[in-house]
Amino acid sequence: MAEYLVDIKNERLSFFTPAGEVKALNDVSIHLSEGEVLGIVGESGSGKSVTAYSLMGLTAHPGKLIGGTLEFNGHYINDMTEKDMRKIRGNEVSLIFQDPMTSLNPVYTIGNQIEEVILLHTDKNKKQAHERAKELLELVGINEPEKRLKQYPHELSGGMRQRVMIAIALACEPKLLIADEPTTALDVTIQAQILELMMELKDKLGMAIIMITHDLGIVASMCEKIAVMYAGKIVEYGTTDEIFYEPKHEYTKGLLKSIPRLDAEEHERLVPIEGTPVDMLNPPKGCPFAPRCDSCMKICLREMPPVTEFGDTHYTQCWLNQKAQFEGGKVQ
């Protein structure tokens, strides 16, 4: 029995584009226990989605896994064939996409699309699958399920479609649910509904969730652990409290300072992170954040910092912390 539900070790993944190799993931390690909620935050192109998709064997061409091991629920994803992968996908691990408008098939009814998953992964017959689909719609809070099953995606609103997506994802009671920016395309009041629903279902079904988002507000309220990604690396990893109250990496600190707070008493000027995100085709030699970092040192430009650990759950990759620990006499 594996220790963790998800155990990714030193994953390296590159996209071999005509313009050159893009190192989308560079030495990424993540582990997740059953029933845990992990948030992955980062800007677009930082590799958050790629990490999660590779766990489902969904790396798109010209992407290629070039190192590391991926383990999920006792399966070694590296060695699995496409045929075996299919048995897991939608069954033990499923995915909710960002855009509910485009991720449902417009020419099939909602019922078709939910039943498809059930028929594929269980030995239920058509009638039982139909019943199960009805249950699922009720579970995700959709009224008149019988009527909805016969409708097409265009007849539903954005929030409803996202509920249908969740119903499909949960059809086989997966152990892990990957939610890739599930509420970015939705309005705030609908977002609140969907997040509430996800947390409720998590408590009910006990699945683990990987929540991919760029919204720090969402991870603060939902997640137990957070991985902050920048340019294909996890620059900081820790529990939610550690990340929000004791951030160690300059990028994490910058992110927290750059968002306006609704409960701010007076007008404070935002502190932006200067510069632009990394060009992944020509990444800097050392720490990828160094060109935008205020406290950048010479060594940051030359070499990638090693991992500095603070306790069991919290680590970061930053020379500043390495230096502080060295001066504190903790590291030789």
């Binding site: 800007e43 609103s157 509430e196 306006p260």
Partner: protein, 329 residues
């Protein structure tokens, strides 16, 4: 002394949506909206998608011809449906500008940055010769943190944040007094958003600009605005000083909007309870009678279904449209 730069009275914008003769249907995108903006201030406009905030901004500039209402700019009437006044907009276009939401779609991919910024200069004859024109373009690019190197490049060579800067430089090229900022940061990455927000603030200070800042993100709007208006299904439901609005909101929709925003602070997020609104925004083709919010409002009663709530000043400078605002705590 605050002086009203823009006044909008009973502005309406109906879009035809099929049907003939008597059955002709309309989407009331903006329905009876009144507000004013003082010189040098920022008025924020928030609401969910489809509530009419973008349409309000565009109608205000007469990019869409208003269906009815009155628009006054700097004490000059530029549109009045009753007196049938329709001013020639060309001179006003110099004073009123817009920055669009999507920096990927709002710049012509076949024009260089210099031409995009220079087009406005040509139209309004702001440069006597080529040299002057070029200098003016470079000056505009500097103002938004770009430089002369960028002038001869095409939009696709820029990142999202830089493109938005080009969009802002284009708007600034005519030395406007008033800019409608239509979701200028929602297409940008979080770390870039703060840069652009700060730039808007700096430009405002330097050139005394007046903004109508439209966004769906209430925390950003609160940060940048002096006053905030909240829209729902084509109506303004509440308008107040930004601090007042976020601390002592009166309308139940504003309250739920504020509580629905996830707070980036785990301790507060865990302790606070959210007001989760039931259901979806009704279709604007077939809006509910009376108060538009009543189908999702926890306090709705018969009166809300029968009467459209009046737009009134509940406290000084705090406007609200709700029958029961004084009973809701």
């Amino acid at each position: 002394m605050s002086e009203k730069l823009i006044q909008v009275e009973h502005l309406k914008q109906y879009f035809p949506a099929g049907g003939f003769g008597k059955n002709k249907k309309f989407v009331k995108a903006v329905d009876d909206v009144s507000f004013y903006i003082n010189r040098g201030e920022t008025l924020g406009l928030v609401g969910e998608s489809g509530c009419g905030k973008t349409t309000t901004g565009r109608t205000l500039l007469r990019l869409y011809e208003p269906t009815a209402g009155k628009i006054v700019y700097d004490n000059e009437v530029i549109f009045d449906s009753e007196k049938k006044i329709k001013a020639n907009m060309l001179p006003y276009r110099r004073k009123m500008q817009i920055v669009f939401q999507d920096p990927y779609a709002s710049l012509d991919p076949r024009m260089t940055v210099a031409d995009i910024v220079g087009e406005a200069i040509d139209i309004h004859h702001l440069a006597a010769n080529k040299q002057e024109r070029y200098e003016r373009i470079i000056e505009m690019l500097r103002r938004v943190g770009l430089n002369s190197e960028h002038a001869n490049r095409y939009p696709h060579e820029f990142s999202g944040g830089q493109r938005q800067r080009v969009g802002i430089a284009r708007a600034l090229a005519v030395d406007p007094e008033f800019i409608v900022c239509d979701e200028p940061i929602s297409a940008l990455d979080v770390s870039i958003q703060a840069q652009v927000v700060n730039m808007f603030e700096d430009l405002q200070k330097e050139f005394g600009l007046t903004y109508l800042f439209i966004a769906h993100d209430l925390s950003v709007v609160k940060h940048i605005s002096n006053r905030i208006g909240v829209m729902y299904l084509g109506h303004l439901v509440e308008l107040a000083d930004s601090y007042e609005l976020t601390k002592h909101s009166l309308h139940p929709y504003t309250k739920s909007l504020i509580s629905a925003i996830p707070v980036a602070d785990p301790k507060i997020a865990r302790s606070s309870s959210r007001i989760v609104l039931e259901g979806d925004v009704p279709s604007p083709l077939n809006p509910p009678s009376g108060c538009k919010f009543r189908t999702r409002c926890p306090y709705a009663d018969e009166r809300c279904a029968a009467e459209v709530p009046e737009w009134r000043e509940a406290e000084k400078g705090h406007f609200v449209a709700c029958h029961h605002f004084d009973q809701i705590q």
